[in-house]
């Protein structure tokens, strides 16, 4: 049974390594927030209309907006 538990843990670790941004039990507030923010920014960059929406609001070019989100 000990091996089973070990197995599950290692599977989880494997999953976490594979899928960036997967949470785990010991996640602290900072890590969690960083993950959420990165997910959001990646989504903004991926959806061009959303990027355009922000660009209009902030009066920047879409290219600049994309760069800012990337940073």
């Amino acid at each position: 049974q000990a091996s089973d538990r070990f197995n599950i843990n290692s599977q989880l670790e494997h999953l976490q390594a594979k899928y960036v941004g997967t949470g785990h039990a010991d996640l602290n507030r900072f890590e969690w927030a960083v993950n959420i923010q990165r997910d959001s920014y990646a989504s903004y960059i991926g959806h061009y209309p959303m990027l355009a929406y922000f660009a209009v609001a902030e009066n920047e070019s879409i290219g600049r907006e994309r760069y800012n989100f990337m940073q």
Binding site: G46, A52, S61, G63
Partner: protein, 1185 residues
């Protein structure tokens, strides 16, 4: 409630554009991605951009790339989308579709951090493609071909590196060595461990080269070096025999040439002289031009300036990098340099343009070079320049783009038959108010007054082989006027036409003779001037004529038909007579099929509400082949040959269908298919066109037969991209029309209306709307954020429109132009104005500038109780608003203006200071409701300021919309969806009685009915919420109005929750919603406008049968016709929330593009024929527009 979603106008903004030879051969074409639409454009010989094909892919296209296998003649398209799949497409010229060559799954769907699709890079020799995500994952696919020269794709090779963010990737041109890809990467693993942010500040970007070893089939990190931390984009430098290889790294303020084992060559990007120092210059798009002997790059900055970059290179590598100012055009998302000397600029916002190169920037101009780079204490010495007019480029065409639609109002301000859509589009100096009308735009070429009121007009050629028409013949009540077409159009008398009698028909007959039919006979004018007259027997007159060039049928009063044919010698011979039972209402002969002597069909419409098809064949001449009864006496008949729906580029290789069109006296156009052999009629469709009986005329559109229907407005039925479309023309009512062709105007229409003769051409075929743009330049500064528009209607019923808004960041501006944009100043500077526009004359009648860094955010008209001033205008403004680092402002105000001169100008009554930004204003029971931050407040009008009456501070974030109905107030919160409120007058209290359970970032909202609201959120969803009926009743009946319950609350909010009844992912940020009816007498639907510039409609179904039919059709379409780029349709429409009760008409409308056997298969499963399905689809569309 079930809704049918249909896109009326496809998105016009462009995400990405690539150029190449997609149809093979030498033709330069452009493929553009418009969010969820992929289209193929081609500049024609005149330099006009033509859309060849456009397809909705039900996914989100993020990147595009083209590649060509060595030695091939044709480019393939690689699409990176949100489907978690790589898709390779090929354009099929014969069928005019994109064919999916390969589709390989590599990850989850959706725009995620680590799922590739964001970036695409191609090996310049077309041997491999790299597809990358924002973070970590990069996959390389090897492209090859098999023995049959088909494209093959390998399984993916991983080039992942965890804890890195990727900024850009590109292929490196290294000839036929192993393919190399370059990427700008940032390692954040240390920053993650360190919450203080020190490590994050120290993070360094690297340029990494990945080598694909074709022999080992393996990708390795070959080389990595630090680059400037502002690096954001990579551009491939030609290599192999053509250049030095390597990459250009575009960074903030710099362009750096880098290659493995080569020292950096760096040059600064010249700056505009008026640019504030703290602003960098970023390259946002790039294009490469490569010829045998030379190559250069065009890089565009975020301010719109294009620079030409050249490299001096020799055997020992690159010695100098030169950046020269080239020209300034609006900021683009992609540029394409075509080999034919054109530059296609896909603008980020506003119209796209096609430019022609006049020069390639060889003249001296401001230039910065790596050799003159100077380093001072503060960094590198900048180079300055002043933007100037276009010198190297000249614009030859532009494609209209509505992107972004900021606001939209549908109203019938012009009192036309259908309402107009007033949309506020664009940004900054390029913004405009566009008036959209359903229909095609026409351009009027000439209008001339005639001596009387003409009844009809025809055009004739002198010979079948002539390209242009020779005469225009106009018939009056008692005369005929003949005009000859030459350099000018003038009256002639030597044409042989009888001018003392009205004409019934004039046409070319046989090869080279003319025929005039007048009430008393037929006049046949031979080429050599001989004239044959055929006179009617007795006192009978000719009432109707039908002819097709070789055959003529006349109907005499009393109902006798006489049939003539042109014989071998060109003589018009009487062949047959036939007595009809009653008077003939109209008749038409089908066009002569190619290679035949005669057409077989004659259609005769009678006053007994029937249409008969008669045979004209010698063996069964004048036999009735079929009879069709119609709802009203036919007024006009027309046979139209239509090529079947799917076809090649021009649909030419498919058998033609013969349609019989009939305009009925009740204003309905009746269309039915005629069997080419038996003459049987089937598959009839009817459509109401207008109040008058449609008269039908045959015209030519793009060389193919089309139909002009003149009812109370003109309509054009024509074939566009393989579909038959019937669209209204935006023109006045016409009486009679004929096609017109001269050397000034190849495909025009000549028409009579009133006592004028009009010549016009039809433009921009295939578009649903035509637009009139009124440029908005409130101020010689730029507006930044948004505009809001209100329609003001004052007491006299005189219409006018208000538009307000605009905010901004800067001050004085010497060189303000649409082309250049305004100079950037430090942020947090605003300019704004309030403008009153008269849409009829497109003129500004009043323009009020807001002073002192104040910006307008909301506007509404309000009638206060005391009616002292009549209608007033309330404008919410904010002074010194900052978004960053923290949202703050100096003060908010509500201005109250009074209308003067029938609403043409404004006068400030007073202004009231408030504590936040008033983002929403609304009239409510003779008072003004304002949403100020999280406070909803009711104001009354005072002498010197507004007086607070009542408020509610319990809203979660920021109120952005308020709508009212009776005593209910529907408040939209920026982040928390809708809140339903009630105002109790006796207790003077505002309280929230219901709210939504889903956090929604509202971008648009519209009140549907007492219990229902429609909203759209930032992520591209449209949804309807409804208060359950029992809750609604309870609240209306409760004497306390649910107040006791309200005090209890539930789930941290109001006691009642609304239910979501409709949910749909549009895939584009919806910025405006409105309920309207676009056709006269039609049902209402909800129209939406999006950031990408598309317009769509949600039509409620009225019967359960339709719902069943369309949901089954949608289901079959999903199964049989999965979207092109590999995204699952159902998953796409449910991207954020599961789709509910909306049927996607865009998918259903792809039914006609399916192969015929598939169409038949789906139709069988639905127990219908394909024709019936097409008819259903057409009906659904006709209910909307």
């Amino acid at each position: 409630m079930y809704l049918y979603n249909l896109t009326l106008q496809q998105a016009t903004g462009i995400v990405s554009a690539i150029n190449g030879n997609f149809s093979g051969g030498k033709i330069q074409e452009i493929v553009v991605a418009r969010g969820k639409i992929l289209s193929l454009l081609r500049p024609d010989d005149l330099g006009k951009l033509q859309t060849l094909h456009s397809v909705e892919i039900f996914g989100c296209i993020r990147s595009l790339a083209q590649f060509r296998l060595t030695g091939a003649q044709k480019d393939y398209i690689v699409v990176g989308s949100d489907s978690g799949r790589i898709v390779i497409l090929e354009y099929n010229k014969e069928k005019n579709v994109f064919d999916k060559v390969h589709q390989e799954t590599f990850g989850k769907s959706g725009c995620r951090r680590i799922v590739p699709g964001q970036y695409l890079a191609i090996d310049p020799k077309g041997r491999a493609v790299m597809i990358g995500a924002c973070e970590k994952q990069k996959l390389v696919y090897v492209l090859n071909r098999d023995t049959a020269a088909r494209l093959t794709i390998s399984s993916p090779l991983e080039a992942h590196k965890s804890h890195t963010i990727v900024y850009s990737i590109c292929g490196v041109d290294c000839g036929f060595d192993n393919p190399i890809f370059a990427a700008i990467e940032l390692d954040y693993s240390e920053a993650d461990q360190d919450s203080t942010g020190v490590a994050a500040g120290e993070a360094q970007k690297h340029l990494t080269f990945y080598e694909l070893d074709l022999g080992l089939n393996h990708v390795s990190r070959k080389w990595s070096e630090q680059v400037d931390n502002g690096a954001n984009m990579l551009v491939t430098v030609p290599g192999g025999g053509d250049g030095p290889s390597g990459v250009l790294v575009c960074a903030e303020n710099f362009v750096i040439y880098k290659n493995q084992g080569h020292p950096d060559v760096r040059a600064v990007i010249p700056r505009r002289a008026d640019l504030p120092e703290e602003r960098g210059v970023l390259i946002v798009s790039a294009a490469t031009h490569k010829q045998k002997s030379m190559f250069f790059f065009l890089l565009q900055t975020e301010y719109g300036d294009i620079f030409k970059v050249t490299l001096e290179h020799g055997n020992e590598g690159v010695s100098e990098l030169k950046i020269k100012y080239f020209d300034t055009i609006p900021v683009t998302s992609s540029m394409c340099v075509l080999k034919t000397g054109f530059l296609f600029a896909a603008s980020e916002f506003g119209n796209h343009a096609l430019y022609q190169f006049q020069a390639i920037g060889d003249d001296p101009d401001v230039e910065s070079s790596s050799s003159t780079l100077m380093e001072t204490e503060e960094g590198f010495q900048p180079v300055f320049f002043q933007p100037r007019g276009l010198k190297n480029l000249v614009r030859i065409d532009q494609a209209e783009s509505l992107m972004p639609i900021m606001d939209m109002k549908i109203a019938n301000l012009f009192e036309e038959e259908t309402p107009q859509i007033f949309s506020l589009c664009g940004r900054g100096p390029r913004s405009s108010l566009r008036i959209l009308r359903p229909g095609l735009a026409i351009s009027e070429m000439a209008v001339s007054q005639l001596p009387g009121v003409p009844s009809a007009v025809w055009t004739v050629k002198k010979n079948v082989n002539d390209a242009f028409d020779a005469y225009i013949v106009v018939s009056f009540a008692n005369a005929t006027l003949v005009l000859s077409i030459g350099e000018t159009v003038e009256e002639v008398s030597d044409s042989g036409f009888l001018d003392t009698t009205p004409s019934l028909a004039v046409s070319l007959i046989g090869d080279d003779s003319l025929m005039q039919v007048h009430p008393n006979g037929i006049r046949h004018i031979r080429e050599d001037g001989r004239i044959n007259e055929w006179r009617t027997p007795g006192k009978r007159t000719i009432v109707k004529v039908g002819s097709n060039g070789l055959q003529v049928v006349i109907a005499l009063s009393g109902g006798e038909l006489i049939y003539f044919e042109v014989d071998m010698t060109g003589q018009l011979m009487e062949v047959e007579k036939h007595e009809m039972s009653g008077d003939v209402a109209c008749l038409d002969i089908a066009p002569v099929p190619e290679g035949r002597q005669r057409s077989r069909f004659l259609a005769v419409g009678s006053y007994d509400n029937t249409i008969r098809i008669l045979s004209l064949d010698p063996d069964d001449c004048m036999q009735v082949l079929s009879v069709q009864s119609v709802s009203s006496p036919p007024e006009s008949l027309l046979f139209l040959e239509v090529k079947a729906s799917v076809g090649g580029e021009d649909g030419a290789d498919h058998p033609a269908n013969l349609f019989l069109n009939a305009g009925l006296q009740n204003g309905v156009l009746f269309r039915t298919v005629v069997d080419m052999v038996t003459g049987q009629l089937s598959d009839s469709r009817s459509r109401f066109l207008g109040l008058r009986a449609p008269k039908l005329f045959s015209v030519k559109v793009r060389g193919r037969p089309a139909m002009l229907c003149l009812s109370s407005r003109p309509w054009l039925g024509y074939i566009h991209q393989g579909h038959f479309l019937l669209t209204p023309l935006s023109y006045e009512t016409l009486e009679f029309a004929a096609s017109f062709s001269s050397d000034q105007c190849a495909e025009g229409v000549v028409a009579v209306a009133g006592d004028a003769l009009r010549v016009f051409t039809i433009e921009r075929l295939g578009e649903t709307f035509n637009e009139t743009a009124i440029p908005l330049r409130y101020t010689p500064r730029r507006k930044e954020c948004f505009e809001a528009a209100g329609m003001g209607e004052n007491g006299n019923g005189n219409m006018n429109q208000m538009e307000n808004g605009g905010d901004d960041e800067d001050k004085e501006d010497p060189l303000s132009d649409e082309q250049y944009g305004y100079p950037k100043a430090e942020s947090n500077k605003w300019v704004s104005c309030i403008r009153v526009l008269d849409p009829r004359t497109a003129s500004t009648t009043c323009l009020l500038e807001l002073q002192d860094n104040e910006a307008a955010f909301s506007v509404c008209t309000v009638n206060f109780h005391d009616k002292e001033y009549g209608t007033l205008l309330a404008v919410g403004t904010a002074k010194g608003l900052q978004f960053w680092p923290k949202r703050s402002l100096t003060a908010g105000f509500i201005h109250i203006y009074r209308f003067l001169e029938d609403g043409r100008s404004l006068e400030l009554l007073h202004k009231t200071q408030v504590e936040g930004v008033p983002l929403a204003l609304c009239q409510f029971q003779g008072r003004l409701l304002a949403g100020i931050g999280s406070v909803l407040r009711l104001y009354d009008l005072g002498k010197r300021r507004l007086l607070r009456k009542c408020e509610n501070k319990l809203f979660p974030n920021t109120i952005i919309s308020i709508q009212t109905y009776r005593d209910r107030i529907y408040v939209g919160d920026i982040q928390e969806s809708f809140h339903f409120c009630k105002y109790r007058r006796d207790e003077n209290q505002l309280y929230i009685f219901a709210d939504d359970v889903v956090p929604r970032w509202l971008t648009a909202s519209y009140h549907i009915d007492f219990d229902t609201m429609a909203g759209a959120d930032k992520f591209g969803n449209v949804y309807f919420v409804r208060l359950p009926q029992d809750v609604s009743d309870e609240i209306e009946e409760d004497p306390t109005g649910g107040k006791i319950k309200w005090e209890q609350g539930r789930l941290n909010g109001a006691p009642n929750k609304v239910e979501e009844i409709v949910q749909f992912h549009v895939g584009d940020v919806v910025t405006s919603l409105q309920k309207a009816s676009l056709i006269p007498g039609g049902g209402e639907c909800v129209l939406y406008g999006t950031v990408m510039g598309s317009l769509g409609a949600l039509l409620p179904f009225t019967s359960r049968d339709d719902v069943d039919f369309f949901s089954h059709l949608e289901m079959h379409m999903r199964q049989e016709h999965p979207p092109l780029c590999g995204r699952d349709h159902m998953a796409y429409r449910s991207a954020y929330f599961p789709v509910k009760d909306v049927i996607d008409g865009d998918l259903c409308e792809q039914f006609p593009t399916l192969p015929l056997d598939l169409q038949r298969k789906i139709a069988d499963e639905l127990d219908r024929t394909p024709g019936e399905i097409l008819k259903k689809l057409e009906e659904a569309r006709n209910k909307i527009i």
